[in-house]
C-alpha cells in the first residue's frame, strides 16, 4: 500500500500559472538559437526537442498530482469515508480523472506532431508545427483548469485535517451538542478546543493526546450529533458518524443530566438508542456530565429509568468482551468538568478498558504466538520458607516522614501570594531573608546615583582598609625599585650561583628577543588571517614560576608583578589588584583563558601614560626627516595591500584556486546571446 501524507502534497498550480511555468521552462532549458540556413535535420531536431520537452514536463507535473492525491480506496476506510463526507468522492474522482485524460491527450498530441515534424522541409513549417503543438497542449490544460482549482482547494483543506492515527489507542467522545465534550477534552489533553454556549461550536474533529500507564492515547472530540434519520444528517454530523463507524476506540457517550444543553434526558436517550449499533465491539462508558448543576441521585423516576436502560446497553458491551457482569461502576460514571471532580476517574476507566480490550485481542490473534515463544519470565526459585522483604534503612524512612511533614508545615511563597490577592496584586519582598547587621535595614531603599557617580562603583566594605594597604604597597614598591637599581649597579656583590643564574636569565631573555623578532610582523606586511592564540602555552606565569624555582629563586613576587601587569589586570582598579596580590593563588589564571580579542582590546598601550602618541614616527634609518619616513612607510603599505586582499602569500604567488569556475563557463544569458565566454 502506498503511504500517503496529506500534508506533503505539492501545490497544484492554476491553469494559467501551469502553462506559464511549463512554457517558460521550455524556453529556458532548450536551445533557443536557430537559423534558416541550418541543415534540415538540425532544424527538425531543434523543434522536435521543444515539443517533446514540453510534453515531458506536462507529464511529470500531472503525474505528480495524480500520484500524490490519495486514492480513496487505498487509504484507511476511516479516511476514505471522511474524505467522502467532506469532499464528495465522485467529484474528487472526476477531477482526478480529468487530469489523467489531460495527461494522455498531451501525450497523443506530442506523438502526432513529432511525426508531422519529420516531414517539415522549411524552418517556417517546422516552427508553425511546433507552435501548433504547444498551443494545443496549453488548450488542453486551459480546459482542465477548473479541476485544477478544485484540487488545490481540496489539498489546502486536507493538509489541515487533524492527524488522526486510525490504528492506535483512541478514545472517542460523542453526544448531543453542548453537553461538555470539548470541555472534557480540554481538561485531559492540551487541545485548545473552543468552548461556547451555542450549539455546534465544534464543527470538525479535534484531536488531543493524553497519557495513561506510560502509553499515549489519542482523544477525539466530535461535533454534536442530533437525533435525526440518517439521510438528513449534514456534513458536520456525518464526520462524527464516520469516526464512530470506522475507528476502533473506546466510546464515551456524554449525557447532560441537568438539561442545560437544551435537550432533556429523553431526547439524549433516544439518540443513544438510535446509534447504539455503532457501539458494537467497543468499550462503552456512559458519562453523566454537569453533576454540579444536578446530581445523579436527584433525577426523576423516568429519567433514572432511561439512564439505567443505557447502562444496561453499555453492560452488554462489557459482557461481550468477556468482563464480569457485576462491574456496574465502570460503565456509568458521573463527573463535572466545571469543578473537575470525576474527570480523571472517567479518563482512567476509559483508558483501562480500552487497554484491556486491545491486549485481549492481541493475545487471541495468531501473531502473538510468534512472540510468546520468545518470552520467558524468570522467577527466582524459593530457597526456603524464610521471608525476605526489601530492606529499607530506618533513617531513610524517618527522613521521608520528616520531609513530608516539613512540606506540609512550610508555607510557600506561592501560598502567601495567593492569600494576598494573587499574582498581579501582591509583590513578594525579596529581601525578607537578607542577613544584615541591623534588622531594620532590610527594607531600606538603596541610592543608585550620588553626585553624578554610580554608588556601586565605590562600594566595598573594607574600602578604607584597602586604601591603606594600597598606599603601603606603593611605598614598598618604590623602595624596592630603588633597591633594585642599586643592586644592579655593583655586580661584584653577586655570589657565583647568583651570577650563574643571572647569566642564564640573560641568555634566555636574548633568545626570547630573537624569537620575537623573527615572528614579529604587523598586519600590513602579512596577509590578514585570524591570529591564533598561543596554543603551546609557552608563556604562562606558572611556567615562569617553575623555571625560576628551578634556578633557585623565589618566584612569588615575580609572578605577582607579572600578573598585576598582565592584560586582564591592566584595566582594573587599584584596590582590586592589591587585594589579588595578597592571595596570589586564587588570582585569575586568565592569561591562558582569555580570548585573544579581549586581550587585544585591553592592550598595554592603553594603560601607559608616558608612551608615544600613536601616529608619531621617529626619524632615522637613513631618512631625511619624519615626513619622508612616513611617505616611505605609506608606499610600502600600499604596495602590499592589493596582494593581501587577494590572499596571496607574496609576490611570486600565482596560484589559481579554481581554473574553470562554473558561473563563468555555463548558463544562459538573461538577455542576449552566448557566443563567447
Amino acid at each position: 500500500m502506498v503511504q500517503y501524507n496529506f500534508k506533503k502534497i505539492t501545490v497544484v498550480p492554476t491553469g494559467k500559472d501551469f502553462i506559464d511555468i511549463i512554457l517558460s521552462r521550455t524556453q529556458r532549458q532548450t536551445p533557443t538559437v536557430v537559423h534558416k540556413g541550418y541543415a534540415i535535420s538540425r532544424l527538425r531536431q531543434f523543434y522536435m526537442r521543444k515539443v517533446k520537452y514540453t510534453q515531458q514536463n506536462f507529464h511529470e507535473k500531472l503525474s505528480a498530482i495524480i500520484d500524490e492525491f490519495p486514492r480513496l480506496d487505498d487509504i484507511h476506510p476511516f479516511y476514505g469515508d471522511l474524505l467522502h463526507v467532506l469532499y464528495n468522492k465522485d467529484h474528487y474522482k472526476l477531477a482526478l480523472g480529468q487530469i489523467n485524460t489531460a495527461r494522455n491527450l498531451i501525450g497523443k498530441i506530442s506523438k502526432d506532431y513529432v511525426k508531422l515534424l519529420k516531414y517539415g522541409d522549411s524552418l517556417y513549417r517546422c516552427k508553425s508545427l511546433k507552435v501548433a503543438a504547444l498551443g494545443r497542449m496549453c488548450t488542453v490544460i486551459k480546459r482542465v483548469s477548473p479541476s485544477l482549482a478544485y484540487l488545490e482547494q481540496i489539498r489546502q483543506h486536507m493538509a489541515r485535517l487533524p492527524s488522526i492515527d486510525p490504528n492506535t489507542r483512541t478514545i472517542l467522545i460523542c453526544g448531543y451538542p453542548n453537553v461538555g465534550k470539548s470541555s472534557f477534552i480540554n481538561k485531559i489533553t492540551r487541545a485548545d478546543v473552543d468552548v461556547q454556549p451555542y450549539a455546534f461550536t465544534t464543527k470538525s474533529l479535534f484531536v488531543g493526546h493524553t497519557d495513561y500507564k506510560y502509553l499515549r492515547y489519542q482523544v477525539i472530540d466530535t461535533p454534536g450529533i442530533l437525533d435525526r434519520p440518517f439521510e438528513d444528517r449534514n456534513i458536520i454530523e456525518m464526520c462524527s458518524i464516520t469516526a464512530l463507524a470506522h475507528l476502533r476506540a473506546a466510546v464515551l457517550f456524554f449525557l447532560d443530566i441537568s438539561g442545560s444543553c437544551g435537550y432533556n434526558i429523553a431526547q439524549q436517550a433516544a439518540l443513544f438508542h438510535s446509534i447504539k449499533s455503532l457501539f458494537m465491539n467497543k468499550p462503552l462508558i456512559v458519562v453523566c456530565n454537569k453533576t454540579d448543576l444536578q446530581p445523579l441521585d436527584g433525577l426523576s423516576e423516568e429519567d433514572m429509568k432511561l439512564v439505567v436502560e443505557m447502562k444496561a446497553e453499555a453492560m452488554k458491551t462489557v459482557i461481550g468482551q468477556g468482563g464480569e457482569a457485576t462491574d456496574s461502576d465502570e460503565v456509568l460514571l458521573t463527573m463535572s468538568t466545571l469543578t473537575e471532580e470525576g474527570v480523571i476517574a472517567v479518563k482512567n476507566s476509559a483508558c483501562e478498558r480500552l487497554l484491556n480490550q486491545r491486549v485481549e485481542l492481541k493475545m487471541k490473534s495468531k501473531k502473538i504466538n510468534d512472540c510468546l515463544n520468545r518470552f520467558h519470565v524468570a522467577v527466582p526459585k524459593k530457597r526456603d520458607e524464610k521471608e525476605r522483604p526489601p530492606c529499607i534503612p530506618q533513617a531513610v524512612l524517618e527522613a521521608k516522614a520528616k520531609e513530608a511533614a516539613d512540606i506540609e508545615k512550610r508555607k510557600l511563597e506561592r501560598d502567601l501570594e495567593n492569600e494576598n490577592g494573587g499574582a498581579g496584586v501582591y509583590s513578594a519582598s525579596l529581601r525578607k531573608h537578607h542577613i544584615l547587621a541591623d534588622e531594620e535595614w532590610k527594607e531600606d531603599i538603596m541610592p543608585e546615583i550620588l553626585d553624578g557617580h554610580n554608588v556601586y562603583d565605590f562600594i566595598d566594605p573594607d574600602i578604607l582598609q584597602r586604601l591603606e594597604e594600597l598606599e603601603r604597597e606603593e611605598g614598598l614598591r618604590l623602595e624596592q625599585e630603588v633597591d633594585n637599581d642599586d643592586f644592579e649597579m655593583d655586580g661584584k656583590e653577586l655570589t657565583p650561583e647568583e651570577q650563574e643564574a643571572l647569566a642564564e636569565i640573560r641568555k634566555k631573555k636574548s633568545l626570547l628577543i630573537q624569537q620575537h623578532r623573527i615572528k614579529k610582523s604587523t598586519a600590513e606586511s602579512r596577509p590578514t588571517v585570524p591570529r591564533k592564540f598561543d596554543k603551546e602555552r609557552k608563556f604562562s606565569s606558572e611556567r615562569m614560576g617553575r623555571q625560576l624555582s628551578a634556578l633557585g629563586l623565589d618566584p612569588t613576587s615575580a609572578i605577582n608583578r607579572a600578573r598585576s601587569n598582565s592584560v586582564p589586570m591592566r584595566g582594573r582598579k587599584r584596590e582590586r589588584s592589591l587585594a589579588k596580590g595578597d592571595d596570589g593563588n586564587d588570582a585569575m589564571d586568565m592569561d591562558v583563558d582569555q580570548s585573544s580579542k579581549k586581550l587585544r582590546m585591553m592592550s598595554r598601550s592603553r594603560s601607559r601614560s608616558t608612551s608615544r602618541p600613536p601616529g608619531e614616527v621617529v626619524p632615522g634609518e637613513g631618512y631625511r626627516d619624519s615626513k619622508q619616513k612616513v611617505h616611505a612607510m605609506k608606499l610600502a603599505k600600499k604596495s602590499v595591500k592589493k596582494r593581501n586582499k587577494d590572499a596571496r602569500r607574496g609576490e611570486a604567488d600565482r596560484v589559481i584556486p579554481t581554473l574553470r569556475p562554473k558561473h563563468l563557463f555555463s548558463g544562459k544569458r538573461g538577455i542576449g546571446k552566448t557566443t563567447r565566454r
Binding site: 511525426k115 519529420k118 516531414y119 508553425s128 508545427l129 470538525s204
Partner: protein
C-alpha cells in the same frame, strides 16, 4: 473552526497587531510603485508577457471606469424603419410581390451548372509544383528522378491500397494523411470534428484533386450526420461541403468552414 486553522485561531484569540491595518493599507499603496518598477525593469520575453498582461488589465480598468461614469441621460430614440416599409405617400399603391419558392435542390443544381459556388475564400495563393512535390531519387545509382512525394496534407479514403511501390509515381506518406477535419458552422459559430468523405476540388489543379491533396481553399466533403440536419422532405443529410481555411501542413490539422 477546524483544529488546523492556526492563523484564524490566533486572530480570534489575540486580535490583530495594533498597526496591522495601517501597514496593510500602506503596503497596498506601495504596490503601485512596485508594479511600475517591474514594468520598467523586466526585459526580454518576460517583459513582453508582462506588457501584454498589463495591457489587458488596463483595457479592463478603462472599461469599468467608463461604466461607472455612465450617467443615465436621455437621448433621442430613432424609430427603427422596417424593411419593406413604405413611406406614407406610397401606401395606397398595391404592390404585388411575386416570389417563386425554389427548393434547395433546384438551387444547387443551378449552381452546379453554372460552375460557380459562393465560397468563403474565393481566391487562394497558387501553390507551385515544386512546393507541392519533392523529387525522390530511385534506382540503383539513384539517378532516376521520376518519383514524387507529396509534401502537403492528403486524404486517401478508407479503401485505399497503394500501387506496387515499383510503379508508384506519387507517394503519399502516411504521416501526412488526415481523416478528420475541424469544421465550423458559420451560423451556429461552433466547431465540430467531422470525418472527411472525399476531396471535391483543389483550386490548384485537377491533378491534385485526383491525388487527394488538401491545401488552403480546397473544397472537401464531410460527414455531417453528427449535426442531425434534415431536408424539408424529411431525408437525413449526411454529407456536406466545406472549404479548408488554413494550411494543414503548417498546423497539423485541417480547419474548415461549412458551406451551407
Amino acid at each position: 473552526m477546524p483544529q488546523g486553522d492556526y492563523i484564524d485561531l490566533h486572530r480570534k484569540r489575540h486580535g490583530y497587531r495594533h498597526d496591522h491595518f495601517e501597514r496593510k493599507r500602506k503596503k497596498e499603496a506601495r504596490e503601485v510603485h512596485k508594479q511600475s518598477a517591474i514594468a520598467q525593469k523586466a526585459l526580454g520575453i518576460k517583459g513582453k508577457m508582462f506588457a501584454k498582461k498589463r495591457y489587458a488589465e488596463k483595457a479592463l480598468m478603462k472599461k469599468t471606469l467608463a461604466m461607472h461614469e455612465e450617467s443615465s441621460s436621455r437621448r433621442k430614440v430613432d424609430d427603427e424603419v422596417h424593411e419593406g416599409a413604405l413611406p406614407a405617400y406610397l401606401l395606397d399603391r398595391e404592390t404585388t410581390t411575386r416570389a417563386k419558392v425554389l427548393s434547395n435542390t433546384i438551387k444547387q443544381k443551378r449552381k452546379e451548372k453554372a460552375g460557380k459556388w459562393e465560397v468563403p475564400l474565393p481566391k487562394v495563393r497558387p501553390v507551385a509544383e515544386d512546393e507541392m512535390f519533392r523529387v525522390i531519387r530511385s534506382g540503383k545509382r539513384k539517378t532516376k528522378q521520376w518519383k514524387r512525394m507529396v509534401t502537403k496534407a492528403t486524404f486517401v479514403g478508407p479503401s485505399f491500397t497503394r500501387k506496387p511501390p515499383k510503379y508508384e509515381r506519387f507517394i503519399r506518406p502516411t504521416g501526412l494523411r488526415f481523416t478528420k477535419a475541424h469544421v465550423t458552422h458559420p451560423e451556429l459559430k461552433c466547431t465540430f470534428n467531422l470525418e472527411i468523405i472525399g476531396v471535391k476540388k483543389n483550386p490548384n489543379g485537377q491533378m491534385y484533386t485526383s491525388l487527394g491533396v488538401i491545401t488552403k481553399g480546397t473544397i472537401i466533403e464531410v460527414n455531417v450526420s453528427e449535426l442531425g440536419l434534415v431536408t424539408p422532405a424529411g431525408k437525413v443529410v449526411w454529407g456536406k461541403y466545406a472549404q479548408v481555411t488554413n494550411n494543414p501542413e503548417n498546423d497539423g490539422c485541417i480547419n474548415g468552414v461549412l458551406l451551407v
